[in-house]
Amino acid sequence: MLLHGLDFSLPEGSLTWLQGGNGTGKTSLLRCLCGLGEAEAGDIFWQGEPVARDPVRFHQELLYLGHKPGLKSELSIAENLGFFRRLRGLPVIDPEPVLEQLGLARYAGQYVGSLSAGQQRKVMLARLLLEPARLWILDEPLVALDHESRDWLAATMMAFREEGGIILYTSHQPLDQVRPDQQIAIQEATP
C-alpha cells in the first residue's frame, strides 16, 4: 500500500496544491482520483455521489493533464484539440483565440510531432480553456513552461476558481502568483 490516511475534500471554487517529494505517490494519488488507478480501499465521491456508480458523469466534468501530453504527433494541433472536443460530444470550435494567448497561433496547422516538448505542453494546457470541466487535476503542469506561460496558467487558474471550478495540482514549488486555498502534503513515512 502506497498511501493511507486519505481523507480530504475539494470544496467548490478552490485551488489545492498537492506537495510531496519525488516518488511519494503524488502521481498515483492523482491517477486514482481520476479513476485510472485502482484504489485498494475507500471511495471517491463527486458532488456527494460515489464515482463508481456513474463514472461517465464524473469523467465528463473532469480534465486530467498528466506527464505525457496525450497528443497524436501525426495530427495537427487543431485536429488534436478538435478530437478532444468531439470525444466529449461537443461541436469543434476554432482553437485560434486560445492558441493566440499561448503564442502558438502560427502553429495551429502544424503537426504536433514537429513541435518542441515545451510547445506540446502548451497545446495540452490549451485544453483547459477549450474543454468545459468543473474539476481540473493537473500533474506537474509547470514543467518545461516559460515565464509567460506560467503567468497565463496562474491567471487561467484564478479565473476558473472564480467561476466555482475546482483545481488540484502537484508541483515541486508552488505557483507563486496564486495562493492555494488548501495544501496537502504527503509526509514521508519515518521508518
Binding site: 502506497l2 490516511g5 481523507d7 495562493r179 486555498d181 488548501q182 495544501q183 496537502i184 504527503i186 509526509q187
Partner: protein, 72 residues
C-alpha cells in the same frame, strides 16, 4: 493378481516400454512439481530474509491536510 511371475509383470505383455515410460513420466512430473514447490519456497525465504534486515519495506506515506490561508 493378473501376473504369474515378476518377469511376466516386467514384460507387461510385450508392451513394457510403453507402460513403464508412462509410469516413469508420471513419477517424473509429480517429482518436478514437488521440487518446484520446494525450490520456490527456499528462494522466497531467502529473498524475504535478505530483504528483512537491511531495507525496511517502504511504509506508506501519511496524508496531512493543512488548511492554508482561509481569507482568499
Amino acid at each position: 493378481m493378473s501376473f504369474t511371475s515378476f518377469a511376466d509383470f516386467l514384460a507387461m505383455g510385450g508392451y513394457a516400454p510403453y507402460v513403464w515410460t508412462c509410469y516413469g513420466a508420471t513419477l517424473l512430473t509429480l517429482a518436478v512439481i514437488v521440487a518446484g514447490l520446494r525450490r520456490q519456497k527456499k528462494k522466497l525465504m531467502e529473498t524475504i530474509r535478505l530483504q528483512h534486515p537491511e531495507r525496511q519495506a517502504v511504509a506508506p506515506g501519511r496524508i496531512v491536510v493543512k488548511q492554508t490561508a482561509e481569507d482568499s
